[in-house]
Amino acid sequence: MTTTPTPTVGKATGPNDALLVVENLGKSFGGHEVLGGINVTVRAGEFMCIVGPSGAGKTTLLQCLSGLTAPTTGAVTLRGERVTEPPAEMAIVFQDYSRSLMPWLSVLDNVALPLRSAKIGKAERTEKAMAALTEVGLKDHVHKYPWQLSGGMQQRVAIARALAYAPSIVLMDEPFASVDAQTRADLEDLTLNVKRHLGITILLVTHDIDEAVYLADRVLVMGKKPTVVVDLVETHLGPHRDQIATKATREFAELRSRVYKQIRRDDLTNSAGSIAAVG
């Protein structure tokens, strides 16, 4: 379908800081081609945001990156090893957060459950789960059940569960889509802080271009199906960001319009379809 080869945008990365390498990743569902050859290298310790129109295959991409779904073509390697099952150092925050929590376990038990695979005692598991829940501001709700919480709170439980697992790489699929603006800003800053302190690598899918630019070291822009990487934008906004100051800078505005134009251009050439541009 694609007449032009996938543009290799962004700076070439040295082999030393390449953490996750995606080579010519394609995925079809029964002849219906969704991903049409994705090439990207995720650096260790970077925050990469993935934006693209609805149905572009962002969720599908994350599934392939984690080894939950086998790609039709191409390969994913983590530290040089082929990914076929979710690696031990990876955690995921699923888009469908409410279904990703277990209704028969309390909030605390939901967060502590993944720690069973690490060989640590119950007291330590509880302690770590409590710490993660405190971090996302749910300290007072740990003994409730997921279905007693609002959507945004459930989403924070899912985030706490991923953090408590102490991964080195986290995949997040629209993790802030269902929270109010203030909580959203808080969670964005929380995520940035956690990333800075723990030095983890984060791949975050979002519809919100402002959010993508604000959070990311690099923004990966996906086109329409069959999807390839349209652009990979380095933000150079530095490690410290501020909801008001950073968003008021000229660099921010330029980055924002660059990403926006990339999506728009792709949107126009493919006619119909809409994207949520701003949050």
């Binding site: 984690s66 939950l68 099952e85 979710p86 031990a88 990876m90 955690a91 995921i92 699923f94 469908d96 409410s98 279904r99 990703s100 277990m102 209704p103 028969w104 376990l105 459950l113 993944p114 069973r116 695979s117 059940y145 279905w147 569960r161 697992y165």
Partner: protein, 271 residues
């Protein structure tokens, strides 16, 4: 698969409305008075004993060891039969349910065996084991395993696919997956299967005794019937009915204790 929140298909017979105790008592009293009047009238002749006579007969039976031995024997066969159904039916059902191919290839066999009226197999089983507890237990298993097997097959398909991914991502051990994902996920359908099987097992236990002559309440029923002791016939029939009711109440109670977190049970409570 529907989300675990929001409206969902009705389970366990849908929403229940609380009926006042008073209304229930009035209904029971009406039936008893109607029965008493009917029994005293000429329409029924003396084939229908009055409820008072039946109660007297029942109290009389409570003083005999025959009654309690029969009750114990029936309950024992019922419990063993039901336990066998669970031990065989639940794992087999779950395994068949997990794989779509296994479900499809075994579906017709299960449907075939399920539709055979089990009582028609009684002569065969009698030939094998005679009028014994073994015969009775075999009959119970043959009759009651099907609802459990089929409910377990459905249960295996009900497990939230996203949660299967969650346990993979967080690399839970197979034992932990069983304990924290599979057991809670299948418990609603499996317990519904148990409820159906428990009722079916009692039905078959009493039939196998009454028709096949295995010791228990059914045999006693047949004995007093032959002796034309009509109030006792009613007393035994009443015992069987109460047993059925009690078993059902017990299973529902356990189900609610176990599944209080489930949207369907929660919804029922809220109503």
């Amino acid at each position: 698969m529907p989300a675990k929140t929001g409206p969902r298909r009705a389970g366990l017979g849908g929403k229940r409305h609380r009926v006042g105790l008073g209304a229930k008592l009035i209904a029971i009293a009406t039936v008893l008075i109607g029965w008493q009047l009917l029994a005293m009238s000429r329409v029924a002749g003396d084939s229908l004993p009055t409820p008072v006579k039946v109660l007297q007969a029942l109290i009389g039976l409570w003083g005999t060891s025959d009654y309690w031995t029969a009750l114990g024997t029936t309950l024992r066969a019922w419990a063993i039969g039901l336990a066998l159904c669970a031990v065989i039916g639940i794992p087999v059902g779950l395994i068949l349910g997990v794989s779509m191919r296994a479900t499809q290839s075994t579906r017709w066999i299960i449907d075939f065996f399920r539709t055979i009226p089990t009582i028609a197999l009684l002569p065969l089983v009698l030939l094998l084991f005679g009028a014994s507890a073994r015969m009775e237990i075999t009959m119970i298993v043959l009759a009651a395993i099907w609802p459990l097997l089929i409910q377990s097959m459905y249960a295996a398909k009900q497990v939230e696919p996203l949660l299967k991914w969650v346990v993979r991502v967080f690399r839970l051990s197979p034992l932990d997956r069983l304990r924290y994902l599979w057991a809670p996920s299948v418990s609603l359908f499996v317990s519904t299967g148990m409820r159906l099987a428990a009722t079916m097992a009692l039905l078959m236990a009493i039939s196998a005794e009454y028709i096949g002559g295995a010791p228990g309440l059914g045999t006693e029923l047949s004995n007093v019937e032959e002796a034309l002791r009509r109030p006792e016939v009613f007393a035994y029939a009443f015992t069987c009915a109460m047993l059925g009711l009690l078993i059902n109440v017990l299973v529902v109670f356990i189900q609610r204790r176990l599944l209080w977190w489930h949207p369907i049970i929660r919804g029922e409570r809220a109503a």
